[in-house]
């Protein structure tokens, strides 16, 4: 059975000052099975982030609906963890307190919170920084904390909106490996939005390609690279073939987006 079902979800933003309304997302349908790692790949402004925000419940679709385990999504909730592109750690809380934010909101006993925090601090390699404030951390560390914070809540699905978009290439590559390692160990269902082709292939079980604005699903490409995946997989012929194919798909869309 599908874990997450996106049924004809579209989003139109009303026109500003009497202008014509903007269609950000054409009706999109997508099914995500339990333990899937899906990346949504598309050029800037194709509505991929809008789609993810609708799944998170932070935005409402103009048409269609989102079902998680058969229940319609009506607003944000603990069953969908989200990591944003911008740094959204609470600056007044330490790394550990950030990770425990959702747990405290649930009213979980402190001892249990500590246990979960310790697990994810360890998983994300942040144990030495647990008492640091976000301002004292690098961008990569902040996003690691954000991932730990979302996972600590034990969501049914993890939503990532270009989480490594603001990081430099080296850090970005390490973060992809870290995320993949966590997924291989815990098999969470993941929906990951990115505009980076290599990133989309490396972490995913399936890549969903979106067209230029107004966005719609253009192609779905299965990634059959074996797990556990090592970073050296990026230099294999299979990887290159996938990359070549997706590059073509995306290039057409990028050209279309640039022409608008």
């Amino acid at each position: 059975m599908s874990k997450l079902v996106i049924e004809g979800v579209g989003r139109t933003f009303p026109g500003v000052h009497g202008g014509a309304p903007t269609v950000a997302l054409q009706p999109v349908s997508l099914s995500v099975a339990d333990n899937d790692f899906i990346t949504i790949l598309g050029p800037s402004g194709c509505g991929k982030s809008t789609l993810l925000r609708i799944v998170a419940g932070l935005d409402t679709p103009t048409t269609g609906r989102v079902l998680l385990d058969g229940a319609t999504v009506t607003g944000p909730g603990v069953d969908r963890g989200m990591v944003f592109q911008s740094y959204t750690l609470f600056p007044w809380l330490t790394v550990r307190e950030n990770i425990c934010f959702g747990l405290r909101e649930k009213g979980m006993p402190a001892a249990q919170q500590d246990e979960i925090a310790a697990h994810y601090l360890d998983r994300t390699g942040l144990a030495a920084f647990e008492h640091h404030y976000p301002k004292m951390l690098s961008g990569g560390m902040q996003q690691r904390t954000a991932i730990a914070r979302a996972l600590a809540n034990d969501p049914k699905i993890l939503l990532l909106d270009e989480p490594f978009g603001a990081l430099d290439n080296q850090t970005r590559a390490l973060m992809q490996e870290l995320l993949l390692g966590i997924w291989e160990a815990e098999r969470k269902t993941v929906l990951f939005v990115t505009h980076d082709i290599e990133e989309a292939i490396f972490v995913a079980g399936r890549v969903v390609v979106m067209s230029a604005r107004p966005g719609r699903i253009k192609a779905e490409v299965a990634v059959d690279l074996p797990h556990p995946r090592h970073y050296t997989v990026k230099t294999t012929p299979e990887f290159s073939a996938l990359k070549a194919r997706l590059t073509e798909e995306i290039r057409v869309e990028a050209l279309a987006a640039a022409a608008v």
Partner: protein
């Protein structure tokens, strides 16, 4: 000099003290040099001597104490009511829509113009002084706090929602802590204004306090005492400002770079 280039801490202190010294020197030059009649401007030494007199013979310490008490009383009273209202307005748009137009209007009503009315209503006792400061501070705090809370980073609020926070959680665990340093800064600013209001209230109708001493000295043409009173107000303001800054740094270490 290069634009925006920082300077060493000791240079900054030396320059800051330098201007104070220059100011006093200029004052000494015009007063001792006889450029200005003594009746209008006492020289620095006379001012200090008169200040000593005030404390030793006229019980000025009590006046200073009563003025501080009035400022703090009126200010704390205003803050107790204004901060929660400001937070509620910043967090909930219907509450803001209800109060904001009136508060914005009331903010422009000059507190000092209320003094004659307040003397009619409350006499020249303590209640009248507290009310002047309350009126002068309350609306300002409400508006600034509401603006601070209302401009909380939306992505932090969204992150909190995805972590399971409800309306209460958003207000208590996101809006309040994220606004706290700016609210403290607002209070520091308004406390400075409260000092102006208390002196005006004391100049117009009072039997004690620094402002009352200043009007008495004016009647006696004692400019030394007047200047000393003004300087005392400045020094107390400076001390309270430092105290606030120090407390803010202690309370909100995360907001420092």
């Amino acid at each position: 000099m290069t634009p925006l280039k920082p300077i060493p801490a000791r240079h900054r202190v030396a320059l800051g003290i330098g201007f104070f010294a220059l100011f006093v020197l200029a004052w000494a030059a015009v007063s001792f040099g006889g450029l200005v009649p003594k009746t209008f401007l006492a020289d620095p030494l006379t001012m200090l001597r008169e200040g000593g007199n005030l404390f030793a013979r006229y019980g000025f310490a009590w006046d200073v104490g009563i003025t501080i008490w009035r400022v703090l009383g009126g200010f704390v009273l205003a803050a107790i009511f204004a901060v929660p209202l400001g937070v509620a307005m910043g967090a909930y748009k219907p509450i803001e829509a209800f109060f904001e137009p009136f508060v914005s209007f009331a903010r422009y009503l000059p507190a000092s113009a209320f003094i004659p009315l307040l003397i009619l209503w409350a006499g020249i006792g303590e209640m009248q002084k507290l009310l002047v400061i309350f009126i002068g501070s309350f609306f300002q705090i409400v508006l600034m706090v509401a603006m601070t809370v209302g401009s909380t980073r939306r992505d932090l609020v969204e992150a909190a929602y995805t972590l399971g926070a409800g309306a209460r959680g958003i207000v208590r665990r996101v809006l309040l802590p994220s606004s706290a340093p700016a609210i403290a800064e607002t209070l520091r600013l308004v406390l400075g204004w409260a000092w102006t209001y208390v002196i005006v209230a004391e100049l117009i109708g009072a039997s004690s306090g620094i402002g009352h001493m200043i009007t008495d000295s004016q009647a006696l043409l004692n400019t030394g005492q007047i200047i000393f009173g003004i300087i005392v107000i400045g020094v107390i303001g400076l001390i309270s400002d430092f105290a606030f800054k120090w407390a803010n740094q202690r309370l909100f270490p995360w907001s420092l770079a």
